[in-house]
């Protein structure tokens, strides 16, 4: 009996902590969202107030929609993000498998080489990257962005995934080899499903900087047809006058797709774990 009460009080404590932190996490977001529905003066006059009849205004959203191409921007962001994540996951997992599974000459060196990329911001290579894209005629294409983001995401993916792949039981893989499975099958059929939670984690990590990146869209693909949402929202930030209504509206809208993607991956993550065959 004493155990039951202690578990009850423990669960109340757990909920209390989590609720407290949730409030901290969400409060600024709520501030942004409610203010995106208010007139400019009201934002600064009473930022905490929820929109009233007097202050309610869709002017920000109207500006954003009227800007016309926002739907294309969303589509661009989505294509770039999803394709980049897919490439990072597949290529990253393959490389991570090679590094964690096989002992070969240069293994450690290769691991370090692939990890170099998490140590220098890729932004520094901008000029050379741009030259490369100009030379290959990829400027103002989404392909340019996808290539850059894939390269940028790979080091971290390899780093995290190889860490997780080392935890996959050798017995299982050896059993597969005894059954005559090729190395490729072992990787795709046996190992990949087991590291699904790690893949979901990597996907989430990869997604965020891509979605929110402003720099490479600005440099590599600034044209109307290839603009991303984040770059589109930046259009409302001026030299002296910033249209906060439009910026807030555009960025509030931009949260939604990432949130959906996040939901998708986090469900994957849970399913991957609970359906794990080894348990």
């Amino acid at each position: 009996m004493s155990r039951a009460t202690s578990s009850l009080s423990r669960s109340i404590a757990a909920h209390a902590i989590l609720i407290a932190y949730t409030v901290i996490a969400l409060f600024p977001v709520v501030v942004i969202v409610i203010n995106s529905f208010k007139s400019r003066n009201a934002i600064f006059r009473a930022p905490l107030q929820i929109p009233t009849q007097e202050t309610f205004s869709l002017i920000g959203y109207k500006t954003v929609i009227e800007q016309g191409n926002f739907f294309i921007y969303f589509q661009n962001s989505l294509i770039v993000t999803v394709v980049s994540i897919a490439l990072v996951l597949v290529f990253g997992a393959m490389a991570a498998f090679a590094l964690s599974e096989y002992r070969f000459r240069g293994n450690t060196l290769m691991g370090l080489y692939l990890a170099l990329g998490i140590m220098i911001p890729i932004r520094l290579g901008t000029v050379s990257i741009l030259e490369l894209m100009v030379a290959s005629g990829l400027v103002d294409t989404l392909t340019a962005l996808i290539l850059v983001y894939t390269a940028q995401g790979l080091p971290l993916a390899v780093f995290i995934l190889s860490e997780f792949m080392k935890q996959v039981s050798d017995d299982l893989k050896n059993a597969g080899r005894i059954d005559g499975l090729s190395e490729y099958r072992i990787f795709f059929r046996l190992v990949l499903p087991l590291v699904r939670p790690a893949m979901a984690t990597v996907a989430v990590f990869t997604m965020i900087p891509i979605w929110n990146d402003l720099w490479f869209p600005l440099i590599l693909a600034p044209s109307e047809a290839t603009k991303t949402v984040t770059l589109g929202a930046q259009m409302f930030i001026g030299q002296y006058v910033t249209n906060w209504n439009a910026v807030l509206a555009a960025l509030s809208l931009a949260i939604l797709p990432v949130l959906v993607l996040y939901f998708f991956f986090s469900r994957q993550l849970i399913r991957g774990i609970t359906a794990g065959a080894v348990k």
């Binding site: 757990a14 600024p28 501030v31 002992r103 890729i122 984690t201 949130l259 348990k279």
Partner: protein, 309 residues
């Protein structure tokens, strides 16, 4: 690692196939361009001519007080930025993950998503939201402190040299706490039930179970998080740039290596970008991070025991 296929096969093509796509894209789009930039640190442009100057730029960076003062200031600030993350972000992340991973917890999906939302936001939004909240003018933070009778505690933190950096570090913690939480959460969930059940049979539950059973098992993940935090913090740039501007005021008190490097490399206002010195700063940053990562890979990671499930 202990198990390698038989040595009878001399060429194991599959290794090359597994590595090829990642290595190709990574080398072409990331390493070569970065290498191109790094080598700029050995050159200097005079009268439109680029001349090789060896390590002269590094000598300038460390020897010339016009550079070194800024550099050490940025490095010091960056170390503090990192310490705040290690002390605040990671422990809180672990605690949240531990609470969330409790199998009987209700609403855990809701909590997990809510706590992760800040991580999804772009820096523009984060910067705007916190500037608005902390602003002395529009009254969110002052009024809230007033409501609990602590108004006297309020100060224009973002504008004061002694507080600005810590405030920004905490904002960054707020934003990125989702990452350690998710990684630890994934690690905790992949601990097999049998181990937990065995522990429960032995009467080890609750907090004791966390310390004695789970924590040792997730140590490798905590190691990854620490090194990721380290790398992330020493590459950080955007948050400071969007909230404090490229000059990282007040009086350079929030200047970190990333902002210092960006200002030098691309220039700012009337300051013309200096690609060579910028690359020099970037190279130094790279060596600092490399040293940290090597320390982790060879010093710490090898001592962590890994468990295969």
């Amino acid at each position: 690692m202990t198990n390698t296929p038989a040595k009878s096969r001399p060429v194991r093509w599959h290794i090359a196939v597994f590595l090829m796509p990642a290595v190709l894209i990574y080398t072409a789009v990331m390493i070569l361009p970065l290498f191109g930039t790094m080598q700029l640190s050995l050159f200097r442009v005079e009268n439109n001519l680029s001349t090789f100057v060896g390590l002269d730029n590094f000598r300038t960076l460390f020897g010339d007080p016009n550079w070194s003062v800024n550099f050490w200031n940025a490095l010091r600030n960056n170390v503090w930025f990192f310490i705040v993350h290690m002390v605040v972000q990671n422990p809180i992340g672990v605690v949240l993950a531990a609470l969330l991973s409790h199998p009987k917890l209700r609403f855990s999906t809701f909590y997990r998503t809510a706590i992760f939302i800040p991580t999804i936001l772009s820096f523009v939004i984060v910067g705007f939201a916190w500037k608005l909240i902390l602003s002395p003018l529009w009254g969110i933070a002052p009024n809230m402190l007033d409501a609990v009778g602590l108004k006297s505690l309020f100060a224009p933190w973002l504008g004061q040299e002694q507080y600005a950096l810590t405030t920004l570090s905490l904002i960054s913690v707020w934003q990125f706490i989702g990452i350690p939480m998710m990684l630890i959460y994934a690690a905790l969930l992949s601990i097999p039930d049998e181990i937990i059940e065995a522990a429960e049979c032995d009467g080890i539950t609750g907090v004791a179970q966390f310390w004695k059973i789970k924590l040792p098992l997730i140590l490798p993940s905590i190691g990854i998080i620490s090194i990721l935090t380290f790398v992330g913090n020493f590459n950080a740039f955007d948050l400071i740039y969007t909230t404090q501007g490229a000059l990282a005021g007040p009086n350079y008190s929030t200047d970190i290596l990333g902002t210092f490097m960006f200002r030098t490399f691309f220039g700012f206002q009337l300051q013309v970008g200096d690609r060579n010195m910028g690359a020099t700063v970037a190279s130094v940053m790279f060596f600092i991070i490399l040293a940290g990562v090597c320390l982790y890979l060879f010093g710490i990671q090898r001592r962590l025991r890994r468990y295969q499930f």
